[in-house]
């Protein structure tokens, strides 16, 4: 009879905890959970539940990764009330930080890491006459402890695409629709940690991008905007029209660069998820566990996070979802049926 030892030259180990790292195909017995385990590599992506937010909100600023994230301010109910709360995430739970964002904004931009972030622009809540938007050009830097005012964005606006780091951020598009204001823009600006500079390469089409741009200052992808499944790609110099997604929706996104990313969700409660490999969009067989829109995306194509969302029926949602992309090492529990 073929045995595991006969094939591998050693018996199944009995371990108190799962080994890390493990080799693909490795089998062991976890004597704490009384289960046989298998090290595998995913062929498709999956969404698992992440830690719940302390302050539900959407249209926030974001920085960081799946296991080290920073969520800044945002919209937290209908009508347009906002929060200046800042929360950090360690991969398991969200912690409300004692230091709030300097202003109560939503639809702001954010980039960087959990301990070195930058946030800019945004809309101020509706304590103003109907039809009047009060928008910001403020830029603030976060050092893990406190916020410091930095060089102002070239104009007051909201809903701009955001990508990059605290010292090399990219901002594209955005809008200011107050009466007499210039509206939606094609402008692209870079940030060097101190000030913003307009770059010659402007968007192909003037759009807003809310939590739907990802990448770096020199390689970014901006999806949806004002047209549901449109895509614009940036190479550090020029913007070009990219490959449209398969599903028409206003998706949120996260990713590594213009060559790798994940698009997910959309209003009113879309669950579908697509993976971009630099050439084409592939529909993931399974989508979000709960349809959500205006979520913030963190991380990379292999390990992402969706947080801060609304759905068509629930204005704000505390729940988050963690993405494990295709080709990622995972531990599976062996069951019989």
């Amino acid at each position: 009879m073929t045995t595991y030892k006969g094939i591998n030259g050693y018996a199944v180990q009995s371990l108190a905890s799962d080994p890390s790292p493990s080799d693909e195909g490795q089998v062991w017995y976890n004597n704490a959970s009384y289960a046989f385990k298998l090290a595998a590599v995913t062929t498709t992506g999956t969404w698992a539940t992440g830690g719940n937010l302390n302050t539900p909100r959407y249209a926030s600023g974001a920085a960081g990764t799946q296991t080290s994230a920073l969520l800044v301010a945002g919209q937290n109910s209908v009508p347009n009330l906002a929060t200046n709360a800042v929360e950090s995430y360690n991969g398991t739970s969200w912690t409300s930080l004692g230091t709030s964002y300097p202003q109560t904004y939503f639809q702001l931009g954010g980039a960087g890491t959990q301990t070195a972030a930058v946030a800019w622009c945004g809309d101020i809540p509706s304590n103003y006459p109907p039809g009047v938007e009060v928008l910001s050009s403020d830029t603030n830097k976060w050092n893990g402890t406190s916020w410091t005012a930095s060089g102002a964005y070239p104009r007051a606006q909201k809903a701009q695409g955001a990508a990059g780091t605290q010292t090399a951020a990219l901002s594209a598009g955005g809008t200011n629709t107050s009466p007499g204001a210039p509206g939606t823009t094609t402008a692209t600006n870079t940030y060097n940690g101190t000030s913003w500079t307009a770059v010659p390469g402007t968007l192909v089409t003037a759009y807003t991008f809310l939590n739907s741009m990802f990448g770096t200052q020199t390689s970014a992808l901006a999806i949806t905007g004002n047209t549901p499944n449109s895509v614009q790609s940036y190479n550090g110099t020029t913007w070009t029209v990219g490959t449209s997604m398969n599903t028409t929706r206003y998706a949120s996104a996260f990713g590594n660069s213009s060559q790798s990313g994940v698009a997910f969700g959309g209003p009113p409660a879309v669950t579908s998820t697509e993976v971009w490999n630099g050439t084409s969009w592939t529909n993931n067989p399974t989508g979000l566990n709960t349809g959500r829109s205006n979520a913030v995306g963190f991380g990379t194509t292999s390990a992402g996070l969706a947080a801060g969302a609304s759905s068509g029926s629930v204005p704000t949602d505390r729940a988050t979802e963690a993405w494990t992309g295709p080709g990622t090492a995972v531990t599976k529990t062996i069951t019989t049926s």
């Binding site: 995913t42 498709t44 999956t46 969404w47 698992a48 539940t49 992440g50 830690g51 719940n52 959407y58 249209a59 919209q75 209908v78 009508p79 347009n80 991969g91 398991t92 739970s93 639809q107 809309d123 509706s126 109907p130 039809g131 009047v132 938007e133 809903a159 629709t177 807003t208 809310l210 949806t224 905007g225 004002n226 549901p228 929706r249 206003y250 959309g266 209003p267 009113p268 409660a269 669950t271 399974t286 566990n289 709960t290 349809g291 829109s293 205006n294 609304s310 759905s311 068509g312 029926s313 629930v314 204005p315 729940a319 988050t320 963690a322 494990t324 995972v330 599976k332 069951t335 049926s337």
Partner: protein, 99 residues
Amino acid sequence: MAYKYCVAENWGVGFITNDDASKFQISGFPGNLWQIPADNRDANLWVSKVAGVWKTKEEAQAIVDAIVAQAQADWDALPDSEKNREPFGRQRPTAIVLE
């Protein structure tokens, strides 16, 4: 496909694992309502894990309807100027019809 419904509070990490998500489709709805495939062993085990309370389809629909109705009323109370400030694509909440 036939579905079953349960109510369970999402506690965060571990509520739905990647392993769960790879074995069967879980769909979340307002009111901590979860839809799973009927006659699926893994799905039934998941409901036990999360201490889900089974609901009939009619009960589940009533839970969702109540939340959607409140969300629609909240939206309708907004002045048009405020509706226009909502992020692109966000509109009046729509009814959800469970399968």
